[in-house]
């Protein structure tokens, strides 16, 4: 299998979608000759022409509104919002139209379209460039919300999103754009869309994460293993639809659960996960479900962001609070440097 970055995997997915379905159109700000500010659309205008991948004037509400009309007219728009916070001008189109058109028309009008949004922090970005905006979308019925954590998932989730009959908000963790991994992009190993995956099996507790937090959860599990604690990591992949089955099966097995998210915690996706787990796994739980999240503050400036972002230590602190009374050996997990 080739080793690719998530950015390359996304680029290949868009390329293959353009090749396989002539209804697919890619547009947004700077996605044409420049290839997008993150180069996710690199070379697409050159290889598929202006008609298939093009720059629009600078207006996010315009981009999404235009996509609604194009989708109604039979195209499959895949639009790019340049950064998380710059999708907000499009929110009316997304919440009032993209999410609702199928329902309003009793299923007569569908909106197969994808809204790609680079999101999250950890890259030293200045204000308005680092928001974790997934809760706004996940809270809006009618939208599917996806966020990959590996290059291979990025490829297949995006292919599935483009083929999906419903609108998909596709959240790309900026921090993981340049992370590389072996990826099977030729033949599909599994169907990731709508299915969570156990990234790392373990017996003692389940860490549930998505997007950029998956990496943190994996590192925490590795660190905990050195202290003899075997943590399972579940990567949601799609926030909506939510895979209760995989999450519940894991927590019933381990009996303990920590939810990890980069976004601010209050009223976030992690709260939904924690509620669902305790509703379904109450009798299997040996400890309360805990959340590790960003603080409830506007995303901090570059020099302060590390204090905000939940890292390995905060995950291990939470794991330590999982009432391992029967396991005195795991009381004092060692800590890496901050």
């Amino acid at each position: 299998m080739p080793t690719v970055s998530m950015a390359q995997a996304l680029n290949t997915a868009l390329r293959d979608a353009l090749r396989d379905d002539e209804r697919v159109l890619i547009f947004g700000e700077d996605v044409g000759p420049l290839g997008g500010v993150f180069r996710i659309t690199d070379g697409l205008t050159r290889d598929f022409g202006e008609q298939r991948c093009f720059d629009t004037p600078l207006a996010e509400s315009g981009i999404v509104g235009l996509a609604v009309g194009l989708a109604m007219g039979g195209f499959r728009p895949v639009v790019e919002m340049q950064f998380d916070a710059f999708a907000y001008p499009a929110f009316e189109q997304i919440a009032s139209h993209v999410a609702k058109l199928r329902n309003r028309t009793r299923g007569r009008l569908a909106l197969p379209m994808v809204i790609r949004v680079p999101y999250g922090g950890g890259v030293g970005g200045v204000e308005h460039h680092c928001d974790s905006s997934e809760a706004y979308y996940a809270h809006t019925p009618g939208l599917k919300v996806v966020t990959p954590a590996t290059p291979e998932d990025a490829y297949w989730l995006l292919r599935d999103a483009v083929a999906d009959p419903d609108p998909v908000v596709f959240l790309e963790p900026k921090k993981l754009y340049w992370s590389k991994a072996e990826a099977g992009l030729e033949r599909r190993a599994a169907a990731p869309f709508g299915r969570a995956v156990v990234r790392r099996p373990g017996r003692d507790a389940t860490l549930v994460a998505y997007g950029p937090a998956v990496l943190v959860a994996m590192e925490a599990a590795t660190a905990a293993a050195e202290d003899g604690l075997d943590l399972e990591v579940v990567d949601l992949r799609t926030i909506v639809p939510f895979d209760d089955e995989t999450v519940v099966a894991s927590v019933r097995r381990t009996g303990r659960c920590v939810v990890v998210q980069e976004a601010q915690g209050f009223a976030g996706v992690g709260a939904e996960i924690a509620a669902r787990v305790q509703e379904r796994c109450f009798h299997s739980l040996a400890a309360p479900v805990l959340r590790v999240a960003g603080f409830d503050v506007p995303y901090p400036p570059p020099k302060l962001e590390h204090a905000h972002l939940p890292g390995v230590d905060r995950v291990l602190d939470a794991v330590e609070r999982l009432q391992f009374g029967d396991r005195p050996d795991v009381r004092h997990l060692s800590r890496g440097a901050a």
Partner: protein, 364 residues
């Protein structure tokens, strides 16, 4: 609306010019008065400082002292004229690209660069200097300027608000809403469009099919004008007329300045992907600093000694900035909790304690 009213709103068919590229005076319409000589001399000095500030900030970015820097090299006539057209009681609503304007407004350059250095978001006290925080979500500040102008009007003050916005920003809905609101309320606001020909990689031709961006005002009933943005004399003259128009209770005014972004969008951008060097070379012939210098020298308003003194002053400004920016600052990580609300919520208090405990544990 009568045909005469429409004509009164329309911009000139070509950008207003007082000085051509060679630095020679050309005839400008009588309705725009040439700015006073002393103001032109001050403008020159600020442009020299502004350019030096800009190259210094770019250098600091290369050294890793700034997270990012959007240069305004080539746009100094706009940056400086925009500020010199205002009085102390007026408000400025700048974008991320307008750091040089803030320097010309007299702000501490280190406070200006706080945002890009990554210490905090806004480094200065907006009310003290009557400058809103530099705005990144495009065109949103244009509505804020309109609201501030409306506030000053309602309070019977004679202040004016000026919003800076880019060519790309004029495509956003907020820009259009601001123009409409301002015209309906007759708010004393000046919309200053710095058309530097690009929105990141997207050239003007892909941004708008309007005859000129200045025409965007007319449909809303906003008096509009276009100007050669590399001619300081013209930009300052037209902006002074626009500010006077707004201050006189005659409603908003839109000015489009045709200029050019000499550098890439930011240090992180690769302009070679979407424009050729030949175009950049053509525009360097229109350099606003050299043009003003030639013009002022030709009129005997500037001597070789003045030019030298301006350069020396700019160098010491840059040296001072360098020294202060190279000093490491100690960030207070707990500050992230301090300004979310007037009083922190109980949850924020808890979270602050959590972080404090973490930091203490790290220290011990």
């Amino acid at each position: 609306m009568s045909a005469k009213t429409v004509r009164g709103l329309l911009p000139s068919s070509a950008p207003i010019r007082f000085v051509d590229e060679s630095g020679s005076a050309v005839k400008a319409p009588a309705k725009y008065a040439a700015p006073p000589d002393e103001l032109l001399r001050a403008a020159y000095r600020w442009m020299v400082v502004g350019r030096r500030f800009d190259t210094q900030a770019t250098a600091l970015t290369k050294q890793g002292r700034l997270a990012v820097y959007p240069s305004s090299r080539g746009q100094e006539a706009c940056q400086v004229a925009g500020v010199l057209a205002l009085r102390e009681q007026d408000w400025l609503f700048p974008t991320y690209r307008d750091s040089v304007a803030l320097v010309a407004r007299g702000l501490d350059p280190v406070e200006v660069l706080t945002l890009l250095r990554g210490d905090w978001h806004c480094g200065y006290d907006p009310a003290a200097v009557r400058v809103a925080p530099q705005c990144t979500p495009l065109a949103t500040q244009v509505l804020h300027a309109t609201g501030m102008a409306e506030a000053m009007r309602r309070k019977g003050e004679d202040g004016v608000a000026m919003a800076f916005v880019g060519d790309g920003g004029t495509s956003e809905g907020d820009f259009h809403e601001a123009l409409n609101f301002a015209a309906v309320f007759k708010a004393p606001v000046v919309f200053f469009v710095q058309n530097n020909q690009y929105a990141i990689s997207v050239p003007l031709a892909r941004q708008s099919a309007a005859p000129a961006l200045a025409y965007k005002g007319v449909g809303y009933g906003v008096r509009s004008e276009q100007v050669d943005g590399n001619d300081l004399v013209a930009v300052l003259s037209v902006l002074r007329a626009a500010v006077e128009h707004a201050r006189g209770g005659r409603g908003p005014f839109l000015v489009e300045a045709h200029t050019y972004r000499m550098d890439a969008h930011t240090n992180a951008d690769d302009a070679g992907r979407y424009r050729d060097d030949e175009e950049v070379r053509r525009w360097s012939a229109a350099d606003p600093v050299r043009r003003l210098e030639t013009y002022l020298r030709g009129r005997g308003l500037l001597t070789g000694e003045d030019v030298e003194a301006a350069g020396v002053r700019a160098e010491s400004f840059a040296a001072d900035l360098r020294a202060r920016m190279n000093a490491d600052t100690e960030a207070d990580l707990l500050e992230i909790f301090d300004h979310v609300y007037a009083e922190p919520t109980p949850q924020l208090r808890e979270q602050r304690e959590l972080l404090r405990a973490e930091l203490n544990a790290q220290e011990s």
